[in-house]
């Protein structure tokens, strides 16, 4: 049987629970005034989004956010896996580097933004740097934990078959670590998305967040709300994709 992935994923609660939300939106639409700068009704959201789509700003902004997110998550996965592997495999390294890592981890990413801006400047590199820094921790921690659970017999087997270190890593260690890493990625993905938006909102450097901040400054509140919905949609999509990825990686494995 395929490995169970519904074990950890809770199913969505009954759909009739959407009633309050639906009623709220309906009331909002009926009672809200179009000209209200603070709580514009949902119809204005749709209109705002449509406007953005038609004048060609929504597409590129969404694409930019997506690119930053994907790039950062990729870098975070590589860095987190390698570092986590190094730290998990060698006790000495773990003890030596531990406090430094804990210290770095405690620095909230939001506080890193001004520093990154000052050191790297406004731009894609700065965004990727901050988001990667934020997203690397879950992956690193999970990789470290995963290394500790690798059975030594596996390594002995590779050694006895004279596999060579490259083959040992590719054929034995990496696949054995894959479930832990993918778990880390599952936790890191939402973090990466949120921090991407955060950086964009705070620095106004492009992407969906930048668009939100811009709309807010221009008091285009309907647009703001609409864009927030788009952000929420992104969040759903990201979670769904990562769940699919997890399913693919854990296919043909026994339930541990």
């Amino acid at each position: 049987m395929t490995a169970s992935r519904s074990r950890c994923r809770p199913s969505f609660p009954p759909l009739r629970g959407l009633l309050p939300l639906g009623l709220l939106l309906l009331a909002w639409q009926l009672l809200g005034s179009e000209s209200s700068p603070y709580f514009p009704p949902p119809s204005t959201w749709a209109r705002g989004l449509q406007r953005l789509w038609e004048n060609g700003t929504l597409g590129p902004a969404a694409r930019e956010t997506l690119v930053t997110f994907t790039l950062s998550l990729g870098l975070a996965t590589v860095a987190g896996s390698v570092l986590g592997l190094a730290v998990g495999a060698f006790r000495r390294v773990d003890r030596a580097v531990g406090p430094t890592l804990e210290f770095a981890r405690a620095m909230p990413p939001v506080a890193m933004v001004p520093i990154a801006v000052l050191l790297i400047g406004y731009g894609e590199a700065m965004k990727v740097a901050v988001v990667t820094l934020a997203a690397v921790w879950p992956i690193l921690l999970n990789a470290r934990a995963g290394v500790r659970t690798i059975d030594p017999v596996l390594v002995d087997t590779a050694c006895s078959l004279r596999l060579g270190w490259f083959d040992t890593v590719c054929k034995c260690t990496a696949p054995a670590l894959a479930p832990s890493i993918i778990l880390g990625v599952r936790v890191a993905a939402p973090v990466a998305l949120v921090i991407t938006l955060l950086v964009e909102i705070v620095t106004r450097v492009g992407g969906l967040g930048g668009l939100i901040a811009l709309s807010q400054r221009n008091y285009l509140s309907g647009q703001v709300y609409g864009l927030i919905l788009v952000a929420g949609l992104f969040s759903f999509l990201v979670n769904g994709l990562v769940a699919l990825l997890e399913g693919a990686v854990l296919r043909n494995r026994p339930r541990s």
Binding site: L15, L208, S221
Partner: protein, 264 residues
Amino acid sequence: MTSPARLLRRVNWLGLGTLGLLAALWEAAVRSGAVAYQFLPAPSAIAGSAGDLVASGEMGAAVLHTLQVTLLGWALAAALGIGLGLLLGLSPTAWRYSMASIEVVRAIPPVSLVPVALLAFGFSIRMELTIIFFVSAWPVLVNTIGGVRGVRSELLDVARMLRMSRATRIAKVVLPAAMPAILVGLRLALSLSLVLAVVAEMIGNPHGLGNALMSAQQALQPEQMFAYVLAIGVLGIGLNAVVALAAARLVPSASARRPEGGRR
């Protein structure tokens, strides 16, 4: 082994030493000009700047503001979250007719709501508090619901058998049993509160550590910036530690850690 000696042995000298070594390397690199970023200060400069800020009271004022706002927003969120969470957790009907909505709203990345708060409340403390309260309430709410619904039916049977009144049952069985989950929610909410406070201060409210950080950036004062970053980090660690400690004292069984599962 005597107590102080054992304590000394448990300190991770290798780790602290590495940290110190890195700081020293950083210092040396900047001083010798090997690494000459225009805006990368040496640790000594950061420390000096931090000292100045503390002495002048600026650091204290900023920390106080952020701390107050964070705690207030968090407390309000906790009250609402736990109260509403109890309600929704105990009543299956209420749960059925609201959980899906909660899940949908929860999916919205919290940080994107800051501009909305700005729109509604402008540059003010109210904006900051509102956003903290609104966003932090969700983890508490969801975790409380989860905790209450997760109370083992055997325990509820015991309560019924002992003919406990509804209020007693909630107070003596449900709430304590749901405590671990509630605590997790509270801790998440606290971290979130701090982050949002800083974000709100960075773009909306002219007080607090976030604002001080941005001002330092705009004034091109990297030493001060790093000092404020450290302050934010320390504040975060401190808050977390205090909550963990309080939880361990007040509700010892709830925060009992499961042993780390590792081979060897």
